[in-house]
Point group: C2
Chain length 133, copies 2
Amino acid sequence: MSAAPSPAPPRETRQREVISRLLQSAEGPLGVPELHARALNELPRLGVATVYRTLKLLQEQGAAHIVTLDGENLYEASGRGHHHHFSCRQCGRVYTLNTCPVALPAGTVYPGGFVVEAHEVTLYGLCPACAPR
Amino acid sequence: MSAAPSPAPPRETRQREVISRLLQSAEGPLGVPELHARALNELPRLGVATVYRTLKLLQEQGAAHIVTLDGENLYEASGRGHHHHFSCRQCGRVYTLNTCPVALPAGTVYPGGFVVEAHEVTLYGLCPACAPR
DNA sequence: TTTCGTGCAAAAGTTTTGCAAGCCC
DNA sequence: GGGCTTGCAAAACTTTTGCACGAAA
């Protein structure tokens, strides 16, 4: 028998660099079509498949994660601190909220014996631009 | 000229009755394939399209709503009180929580001018069955 | 050079839509 | 009877996969 095959580290390619950078500099979570469209400006021949493959890779590395809103899968770079999302029912835009409405430190035991490790909150309503002033 | 066309009320059909009832009596949120499968027992010729159309109708009526977990769209009957979900990272089961960790009455204005109408919370961690005692 | 990654195209999965026939009112 | 609904099938999307060529190490 042989030692466990040590997995070669992922290669650094232009595609991965661009996708990763776009994700990091985005204002909020992005859907695949949107991300792909933005990347096409720099990589005219980029295929959607590569976007999906790269996103999967980034998720495995913990560098990105998925957020699902209204049945649509959006992707977001990790490491920008604890935050939540606000979805506007009027304009459909998704905002990032930096305040957190719940007090549930990891390790909290919720009634019934549920050990909470993480939580996700999404608020729905009207964003500042759509709310009647 | 004529008066504003008063929208005819939706008809009561066997399909709608069955789908609605199955959703109400379900233990938790159901996916379309699962819901369709259960309905086939009573309506052998029911098509998936009707399930989707009925779910859309129920949502418009506020009688059902969508819950997305792990990228899968699940549907749940409304009117069973305010609740949230707990997803166990070990066994993958989704539980319904009847306590709510946030205090955000509809109409609350969140910092930044976001008018909150509703909120959704999902907790992740270990359920009572999977947590080391 | 060797292997991994990419582009392209086809496949698989999900949700929507068009249309003729059927059912509700 | 008239119009909304349904079933079926095709279309539109979304995400994954296979493969030969191109690029990183």
